[in-house]
């Protein structure tokens, strides 16, 4: 942190060596650096170039917002808020309602979180608190590896391994024992909301568990020692000493996972079935905000069609931004007091 103070005046400016008190030999060695000319101008130019790079990040986000808003104006004018409450998506008759996509995105993401959160927190607890020391780093590395697999490969695996598995074994069993809930009925295609939820769960586990690990390590060691000294078992120590203190950050990790699940495109597109319908059963095919763009954007004929797809994108953009900001704030509330990760 201390070196941030570099921006302070006096250090930054050029400091001409009016009276070189250096030995002749070393002066010769530094000659190339001293000969740089009037560094005042060079410094100014360098600053401007670097500032330009920095501002380009702002400009990019500005461009994204501008593009999304101007290009979706047509659809906004045609449908207004009804766009998000209409459930008819009929490009032939120029009728566009995004409700099935909103529904699909929410249901698949919630399903993913229901499956992923207990697993991710379990993994984080095991790695930080229970695992033997030698196993800690390899386990962390391997779970992070899940995050490095491209989503198209998840999709490929889901199509050829997960979906047949669901169709043959999991869905018939669910239908038989839990069919009465209404969530698991209809023909077991394999492909559908359930498959999308499961593949999303696998994809968000590493994100949630790495944030959870981070906030758990931010809990001071003394906290653990204090609880243990009171005679707690290891699990009681984890529950009262660690998880309770880290819960805001863990919630942040979960919400970050939600943001990732909402924006995830390829793997979902490949297994969700891509049908703009709202069905109660998780066996039924669905559609999400991201996957409708992926499937239909390059084939969209007609301005209103394209504009509607971009409005879907705008909605997705706004939702993920809000979700990510909430998540970052929550993680920050836990890790802010954390010393530089030196002896944590």
């Amino acid at each position: 942190m201390a070196n941030r103070a570099l921006g302070a005046p006096g250090l930054g400016g050029p400091q001409p060596l009016t009276k070189p008190g250096l030995a002749a030999s070393s002066q010769a060695r530094y000659q190339p650096l001293l000969k740089a000319g009037d560094s005042r101008i060079a410094d100014r130019l360098f600053f401007l170039a670097i500032l330009g790079c920095g501002l380009s990040v702002l400009a990019l986000v500005g461009l994204i917002v501008y593009e999304l808003i101007t290009k979706s104006a047509l659809s906004w004018q045609a449908f207004g808020l009804k766009f998000f409450f209409g459930s008819e998506w009929d490009p032939v008759n120029n009728q566009f309602g995004a409700l099935p996509f909103v529904y699909g995105s929410i249901v698949s993401s919630i399903l993913a979180l229901i499956l992923a959160v207990p697993l991710a927190v379990g993994v984080a607890v095991f790695i930080t608190e229970m695992s033997p020391r030698w196993l800690r780093n390899p386990l962390a590395f391997v779970t992070e590896l899940l995050a490095a697999i491209p989503s198209v490969i998840y999709g490929l695996w889901a199509i050829f391994v997960l979906v047949p598995l669901l169709r043959q074994y999991v869905q018939p069993a669910l239908a038989r024992y839990l069919g009465w809930t209404g969530l698991f009925e209809g023909p077991p295609y394999g492909i559908g909301m359930l498959a999308a939820g499961i593949i999303l769960a696998i994809m968000v586990v590493p994100i949630i568990s790495s944030i959870t690990r981070e906030v758990m390590t931010a809990v001071p060691q003394q906290q653990r020692e204090a609880v243990l000294a009171l005679g707690a078992t290891r699990w009681e120590m984890i529950r009262t000493g660690v998880l309770r203190n880290a819960r805001a950050g863990i919630l942040g990790g979960v919400i970050l996972g939600l943001g990732r699940a909402l924006g995830e495109t390829m793997a979902v597109t490949m297994v969700i079935g891509n049908r703009p319908e709202i069905a109660k059963s998780l066996f039924a095919p669905g559609y999400t905000l991201a996957s409708v763009i992926a499937n239909e954007f390059s084939e969209a004929t007609g301005d209103l069609y394209l504009s509607s797809l971009i409005e879907v994108g705008l909605a997705l953009f706004i939702v993920t931004i809000i979700v990510n900001m909430i998540a970052q704030f929550l993680v920050w509330t836990v890790t802010r007091g954390m010393p530089a990760r030196s002896n944590a």
């Binding site: 201390a2 070196n3 941030r4 103070a5 921006g7 250090l11 400091q15 060596l17 530094y30 650096l33 410094d43 170039a49 670097i50 790079c53 501002l55 702002l58 990019l60 986000v61 994204i64 593009e67 999304l68 207990p118 697993l119 991710a120 379990g122 993994v123 607890v125 790695i127 229970m130 391997v142 899940l146 490095a148 697999i149 491209p150 989503s151 198209v152 490969i153 490929l156 695996w157 199509i159 005679g231 078992t233 290891r234 699990w235 009681e236 984890i238 924006g263 495109t265 390829m266 490949m270 991201a290 763009i293 992926a294 954007f297 390059s298 994108g313 953009f317 993920t320 931004i321 990510n324």
Partner: protein
């Protein structure tokens, strides 16, 4: 306890069976979670290796796709196309990202810096499909057709925030004394920043760049309507270009067994590309001066 000097006798208060049981149960559940998470990982890699190596052959690496129904053919143009698009993306994104990172660490302790930091984080969370829409609007619509440039631009936008934040973090690790030593010798600020500060942090910055690279190398969604894909060779910047992830996607959802096999082989090649670059990162980082700094 009548004893006036109660000596702590821990054994006297045995942990109840219930608490001991809960402790074991929690450990068991956490271990189960680890296994349940590692299971799909193992399954994915097993299938990738098994199916991928089974379908990999010389033709796959050297030929372009054959029309539907004809056996054989490969993804040579898609592999080259991916490398090509990634080169364009790196050329556009790496200097901008590093520059923005320098700004944040050396000049960014103010409102502007905070705003850039915040927007970089926002940009990092934007779904990749939306980056695709924007690149479509900015490049494809203006050029009039899909192109390698549009794909590269989309991936570059995705690389920038990662590189920016990594560069900032790495430059802040360089001790102030190093900078002050340079100033003390009369070196100007720009020269210090480039030749001393950035140089010292080189390996860390490279790590950041490679992380960003690995992250976008497998991206499919932003390429769908920018690079678009191509059945033939293409080296023109303004023409549709094949890319490995796109080819895997279109083959995976096709109804042909031959194409499914090729999709697996393509996925294997893609993973190998990414693993090789990540390994290169690890080697570069372990040799660097900032070893273990992060």
């Amino acid at each position: 306890m009548p004893d006036s000097h109660p000596s702590p006798d821990f054994a006297a208060a045995p942990i109840s069976l219930w608490r001991r049981g809960m402790n074991s149960l929690a450990t068991l559940l956490a271990a189960t979670a680890v296994i349940l998470v590692l299971l799909p990982l193992a399954a994915i890699f097993a299938y990738l290796l098994y199916k991928g190596f089974g379908s990999l052959n010389w033709a796959f690496l050297t030929q372009t796709p054959k029309p539907v129904g004809e056996p054989g053919g490969g993804m040579a143009n898609a592999i080259a196309g991916s490398v090509y698009i990634l080169l364009i993306a790196s050329t556009l994104g790496v200097p901008l990202g590093i520059g923005a990172g320098i700004y944040l660490s050396e000049y960014g302790r103010n409102q502007v810096g905070n705003m850039i930091r915040f927007t970089a984080d926002v940009l990092n969370g934007v779904p990749s499909i939306i980056i695709g829409i924007v690149a479509y609007g900015l490049v494809v619509l203006r050029q009039g057709h899909f192109s390698a440039l549009a794909g590269g631009a989309a991936l570059a936008i995705m690389m920038i925030p990662t590189i920016t934040r990594a560069t900032e973090e790495m430059l802040l690790l360089v001790p102030t004394a190093v900078r002050e030593a340079a100033y003390g010798l009369g070196v100007s600020k720009w020269r210090t920043t480039l030749s001393i500060t950035l140089r010292t942090a080189t390996s860390g910055v490279i790590t950041g760049v490679m992380l960003a690279f690995a992250r976008v190398a497998g991206e499919t969604a932003p390429l769908l309507f920018t690079a678009f894909g191509n059945q033939y060779w293409n080296w023109k910047v303004d023409q549709p270009t094949a890319a490995l992830p796109l080819q895997i996607f279109s083959y995976a959802i096709s109804p042909f067994d031959e194409w499914h096999r090729q999709a697996w082989a393509g996925a294997l090649i893609l993973i190998i590309l990414i693993v090789v670059s990540v390994t290169a990162v690890r080697i570069a980082a372990s040799r660097g001066m900032l070893k273990g700094a992060s």
